[in-house]
Symmetry: C3
Subunit: 122 residues, 3 copies
């Protein structure tokens, strides 16, 4: 049986909103997923940069190690997303979160999303 | 048992093509998903803007309310995608569709995709 | 029962790395998925173009036919992704892979990802 676990965080209203948090394995205070069991997890993120001249780099971090990165660097557009997605293997208790590795989000995380679910347990 | 339900619409040939529509819960005439049962659904969209000077904003709309937005605003590139993805909770009969909230797609929806599937029932 | 099958390839370290390859249905030497059984598969790709003046077009190719395309064409940004995602129906033995249809990746596939999993069997 598949474990019912998934989350979708979004910042549509500037502050963090949780569209879905089945199983409550996402900690909204720290924006960290904690894997409820061993398995393969799918993650997707879209971090929106509002007009500024800096390049941003965002990484999906697993237990402190960046595994997937995305970039947004255009100087002329009002809104642009650093986006990526992938599957990762996680043990029970492993932590996954987004980290802004370069640049800053002057307008906050507005319109950004971060979602994930268990593809299957192992 | 998981319900076999998913769709993937694409516009590779300028007009709407349906790569996958298992369960037939996607209405091609109106480009609307109707949820066959309560559950968590994953959606992903990539709307391609062909060269024009306008910014576009595309939203995933759930029963009339925008839940996730994406932008493409570059003036200098020939093709650029407004892309986002996320999970949403839907009741049976809930409707999900894409809405172009700002700008227009002069070249039509060519190369755009919209896909979704039931992650698990509730 | 769902088949445990998925992959996530990434090129974070310039050369191909395999984050996940459950079932070993991804051939790293040729970067090709071979479907282990009939079903609906979800694919996602993000191909990162490092600074160059060319437009790139990347397609997800199924048995030699491009089904989903993505573009990156900005001349002014250091890193930009051609990204798309979708669901496809595959028979046992069908092959899926990424193809660079236009332009070239001077910096290699660094930071690019390609992931997929079986949504459900048919």
């Amino acid at each position: 049986m598949y474990l019912k676990w998934c989350i979708c965080a979004d910042w549509s209203l500037s502050s963090l909103g949780i569209l879905v948090n089945v199983g409550s394995h996402f900690d909204p205070a720290r924006s960290i997923f904690v894997a409820p069991r061993k398995g393969v997890y799918s993650f997707s993120f879209h971090v929106v940069k509002v007009y500024n001249r800096q390049t941003i780099q965002v990484s999906l971090v697993l237990n402190g190690w960046p595994v997937i990165s995305a970039f947004a660097g255009d100087q002329d557009v009002t809104r642009e997303a650093a986006t990526n997605a992938g599957l990762v293997m996680m043990e029970r208790g492993d932590k996954a979160y987004l980290k802004l590795e370069r640049g800053n989000l002057m307008g906050g995380w507005k319109y950004s999303t971060f979602s994930g679910f268990l593809v299957f347990p192992l």
